[in-house]
Amino acid sequence: MVKQINYNKYIVMVLLMLAVIGVGPVGSHPHVFIAQETKIIFDENGLAGFKIHWTFDEMFSVMISEDFDEDKNGRLDKREIAIIKEKAFGYIAPHNYYIQLKIDGKPFPVKFIKDFNATLNNGKLSYEFFIPCHVTAVKTAKKIVLSPYDPEYYSAVYFPDKKHLFLKNQDPFEIETKVERDMSTLIYYETVNPLAIFFKFCLK
């Protein structure tokens, strides 16, 4: 007599397995969480660049402050900031400092940054830096997309719930901004469209 196989048991197992693995390979990896505020800065010619402000989660903040706040006074002095820039920030340069930019649909590699600063505020670490990106304003709109993400997914960069997008010196220009998923890009092993700041600007 042929023994009946209990399919239900296996189906439950497979569902459980999918629940765990199906979302798994990219689902839960980040070890660092970064809240990003972005300031789009204009000058007399058009776009001048982006001031990026990152606030790290408390656990990563402790990791960095334990090592780099050498005098353990809860503040970072110039020397400590310089060491942090070299040893806890500069290494992400090959990843465009986690800021992926497109100008009129073409990628703009972030090769360098300026005015790096690091602060500790109630134990929370923040980085601030400026990305120069000069785009002259003309009568037709220039379209820019700024998407923050770590392609290796060790860090999750996100926009906080509070106001996170600011404009500076924007008066001479007509500007439209929106934050939504960039449907033309897939990240984290091609599973997700990253959140991005879309904006266009032209002369008034």
């Binding site: 397995m17 199906g22 390979p25 980040p30 660092v32 334990e66 290494y91």
Partner: protein
């Protein structure tokens, strides 16, 4: 149809070899960070999981501070629960030894108890090596955490990936011999060391878990070393439950496929040894790819 579907899922399980970078990109030189292997799984649910993981970390930070300031026991129960949940979710990500634990049970014909032991030991070793690493660096070596983690991760990765490669090669060679000698006791004995759950768990779990390291460090920075160790254990227990679930699923899948062929002994024989050969080959390839990427 059901057979085909289940076989596909089982094959997918076998191929689920994704892994993640254990190097912190902020503090690691770019040339030292290895490439992440792409996973065959595509899912959008992970955004919610990432959000949940972030929330758990925030809640844990808050409760650890509360435990420190109020000196009460109540937050510790909640903390234990959150740490366990964090471990469950965290280990579902790339790495954490799932692929190797799974390959072990596919290739080494363990009993259910042995399979469960492997799943648990892999996670516990991975978690405990994180605890041990932090205690060693903070209280014995008094060294920089980020640099030590970088160096420690690099060394343990080389050792771990070498052991995984060796284990894979031995499983593969043993399975080839099995094709000809039909699983003689002698061959089973030769492979005992690498079928040993302790050896498997050690080779996979050797690399300190960065999640445990960060939670431990945070607690220690507030002067709560004991709580840090306790939370590390809770995270390891959470990781153990996830990996155990995957091992159970793998064992059920294998047993199901073999039962499908119960009536055809030759087919069963071919399937069983094919799974073993493939698992050995995949473990060896995974180990070698990771080893070469990190050298």
């Amino acid at each position: 149809m059901k057979r085909a579907l289940l076989f596909c899922i089982f094959a997918f399980l076998l191929l689920n070899l994704s892994t993640g970078s254990a190097h912190n990109p902020f503090t690691s030189q770019p040339e030292k960070s290895h490439k992440v292997l792409a996973s065959p799984v595509k899912s959008r649910l992970f955004v919610k999981i990432v959000f949940l993981q972030h929330q758990l970390r925030e809640k844990m930070s808050f409760l650890i501070r509360e435990a420190k300031s109020e000196k009460k026991i109540a937050p510790i129960f909640l903390l234990a629960m959150f740490a366990f949940l964090y471990g469950v979710i965290h280990s579902a990500g790339p790495g954490h030894g799932k692929a190797v634990a799974l390959s072990y049970i596919l290739s080494c014909k363990p009993k259910l108890s042995q399979g469960l032991m492997v799943g648990n030991l892999v996670a516990l070793t991975h978690g405990f090596s994180g605890i041990f690493f932090v205690l060693l660096v903070k209280f014995v070596l008094h060294a920089s955490i980020t640099q030590s983690l970088e160096t420690g991760t690099y060394i343990t990765q080389i050792i771990s990936f070498s052991l995984i490669s060796l284990m894979g090669v031995i499983i593969f060679v043993r399975s080839l011999l099995n094709w000809f000698k039909k699983g003689s006791d002698e061959i089973q004995r030769q492979g005992w060391l690498f079928a040993n759950p302790f050896a498997t768990a050690f080779s996979v779990g050797l690399i300190p878990c960065p999640g445990v390291v960060m939670v431990m460090l945070f607690a220690i920075s507030l002067g709560l070393t004991g709580l840090g160790i306790f939370l590390g254990v809770c995270i390891a227990a959470g990781m153990a439950s996830t990996i155990t679930l995957i091992v159970l699923a793998g064992m059920s899948g294998k047993s199901f496929i073999l039962r499908l062929s119960d009536r055809q002994k030759r087919l069963r024989y071919i399937l069983e040894y094919s799974i073993e050969t493939l698992a050995g080959l995949l473990v060896a390839s995974l180990g070698l790819v990771l080893l070469l990427a990190n050298l």
